[in-house]
Symmetry: none
Subunit: 424 residues, 2 copies
């Protein structure tokens, strides 16, 4: 990936460091994925980030980290330490750096109280700490949880504080921090990224197929291509384009998407950006007026859980029979007595799912997730079947993975088989 | 987990910072898991680590990061930037900080050449860079790949350099860095940690309940308590104890666990260390000779997926009916016609799961995951029921969360209800 660089209106671009706060990060009990995510967002937004630091829950050390960051950058994003407990001291340290006291923000008190009220609970007194704001600081407009984010000016520099809970952090950075930083930076050129999600080719195979195109782009500039293997999210091919205006960058990226699709084969691209394999399958069912059911053994409900993670799945997806015990396969799905990790069993499961749950298509899986063999079959052996309007196809794969990766690979691989049948 | 803490022979323990080098880390293309792993090893080895820093492939900024680390700690581990390419500059910067030139180590040249030879390849000229060593530095005795690790004295301080490739880094840290650090530290005392996983109280509520105990421990020393909210992994209460011998630290932590359990209520603790809610429920079923089934609507299979993530679940867990469509609830589970987000529906689902899947106990959930209301019921409204030997109990909660958190909260909350019933 090229590093998309912001072009400031002034002579220098804005620099922003990231400080992740929490002793659990230093001790390796929690991996700091927040800084990585923020680093990527800063790069995409055209903000330089030269240092990212982890520091424990200690007033003097957090203070030193902030002062150092402000001595060499324009802005710092503090991540974590905004919770209600006594070791959450980010607000206190920021007030200290700003040289101001904390004030209690009654509007935040009301919002936190309302959140607890909605769950039928009283707000514990500790949560009042979360409503404390350094005098002179603004509250981040986004507040998905009980921790308010802070925007704290220090002269013409700024300290942002966001919670360490990832979903709260992401919303606050996207909606509150990045717009403020871009305004400070006076970003002029536009950078956009588009990710094509693929399934069915290896990373090195894709890289080989795209080798000439990548060399051409390296020569011409303006667009870069990067690969990212993301497990059951697919193998991602990310296009990043940079231009002077939004229409230009849109046109660049649109043309490049078409080129890449024609080089790698359109059918291996199952989604764009956030579209998962489940989106793709549900959409194809919806468009063809079909309903979908699943019959799961080794995945134990994982395929249904992924499908129903998609809002609106209910107009297509009927449900699942999770037949973990062999008797459930025999009695509920009509699998003939005999080995349950077999082509006969998985075909009967796919048919049974359509019958029992009243659907026009289905996927079914049965196999050995491990760690031990089952019925003499080695872990990693998985039979899967798809049923479309009564016609069943089955196949078997053997995977050298651990239990959870076998279950995840089975999920995307089986759904992809149904996708290809619905496409063609 | 045992964490031996270092007590230096002198007056203070040894402090070691970690600097992860690589622009890809700042850009979020690669998550820095190396520092987390090193942080845990340092803690286990009794070495304090107060700061961990990510910096890009830039000479001046790497140099500044090293000098800062040495200004406040005794040692620094540099991770990454030892490869053969031009942007691998860690050795050059270290030589600069030490004020010495690089020398070519012919023994390393021979080892690298032999590694290539073993694969039937000639050593590329670039790899000669990897044999350059600052004058006065030692080579790490472990060398699993082509990059040698360095042990570089700076006065009575030390800079360690290890590669960014995780398996090479791990071996060098374990075999070369930690023994050297421990020798410098003169380790005497032992630390252990134990995590109690709880469900049913808020973080701030627990902190309030444990306030006096935490103050007492602060006064007396030797043990600390920390909280970590981990979503559907539970709210974790971590006890960390330190003493002069292993029997002493075991006794300390055992006694403190009993105190904390008696203060917060033993029944809210569902597991210790890595034990999930699913482990707890499966174990209670197993011990009481019961089998388990699930009937899931809004969770779409998530409860079954979590249960079957536990190896050995098959001796207890029968399966699930994922009744996403209302007709599946009516026709497969015997839910009476009418509103499906209701007490009547969830009770019938729990009974139906036991009947259809042949189990002696079950959990069932039906609700609105959102984003839109359903049957006039607001998102976040969830009915759940548990069935134990035919006796059904049901309850409703309303959650102010997003779709995925509603599904996850429902999963742990419902399994916890069954756990409490099985406990008696």
């Amino acid at each position: 990936m090229t590093v998309p660089i912001g072009t400031a209106l002034g002579s220098a671009s804005v620099r922003c460091e990231v400080i992740a706060v929490g002793s659990e990060l230093l001790l390796g009990q929690v991996v700091d994925t927040n800084s990585s995510w923020i680093g990527e967002q800063l790069a995409l937004a055209g903000i330089d980030s030269h240092y990212q630091v982890k520091v424990g829950d200690n007033h003097e050390r957090i203070r030193a980290a902030i002062e150092l960051a402000l001595s060499r950058s324009d802005a710092v994003i503090m991540c974590g330490g905004l919770g209600p407990t006594q070791d959450d001291i980010t607000r206190d340290v920021i007030a200290d750096v700003m040289g101001v006291p904390l004030r209690r923000d009654e509007e935040i008190v009301d919002r936190i109280r309302a959140m607890f009220g909605a769950r039928g609970r009283d707000m514990p007194a500790n949560n009042l700490r979360q409503a404390e704001v350094p005098v002179g600081a603004r509250v981040n407009p986004a507040m998905p949880g009980t921790a308010p984010g802070l925007i704290c000016p220090v002269g013409d520099q700024v300290i942002y504080a966001v919670p360490g809970v990832p979903w709260e952090m992401m919303q606050m950075v996207s909606d509150g921090v990045l717009p403020d930083l871009q305004e400070r930076a006076g970003i002029t050129s536009i950078i956009k990224s588009r990710t094509l999600r693929t399934w069915g080719r290896s990373e090195s195979g894709l890289a080989e197929t795209l080798h000439d195109e990548i060399q051409r782009l390296d020569r011409d500039g303006g667009i870069t291509i990067a690969f990212l293997a993301s497990g059951w999210e697919g193998l991602k091919v990310r296009l990043t384009a940079k231009a002077e205006s939004e229409p230009l960058v849109d046109e660049l990226i649109e043309l490049e998407e078409q080129r890449v699709r024609s080089i790698i084969g359109d059918e291996i691209v199952f989604g764009v950006d956030d579209e998962t394999m489940e989106h793709a399958v549900l959409d194809l069912c919806r468009k063809s007026g079909r309903t979908l059911a699943t019959a799961e053994s080794l995945t134990g409900g994982l395929i249904g859980a992924r499908l129903t993670a998609v809002p609106g799945a209910s107009d297509v997806y009927r449900g699942s029979v999770v037949a973990y015990a062999s008797e459930v396969k025999y009695q509920v799905l009509g699998v003939p007595e005999g080995p349950v990790v077999s082509e006969a069993a998985v075909r009967a499961m796919a048919a049974g799912a359509c019958d029992v749950l009243g659907a026009s298509c289905s996927v079914a899986v049965t196999g050995v997730a491990g760690p031990a063999p089952q019925e003499g079959v080695e872990p990693g052996t998985v039979w899967s079947a798809t049923c479309v309007d009564g016609a069943i196809e089955a196949s078997v794969v053997v995977m050298p993975f651990d239990r959870e990766r076998i279950r995840q690979f089975t999920t995307i691989n089986t759904l992809n088989a149904l996708r290809l049948r619905l496409l063609g």
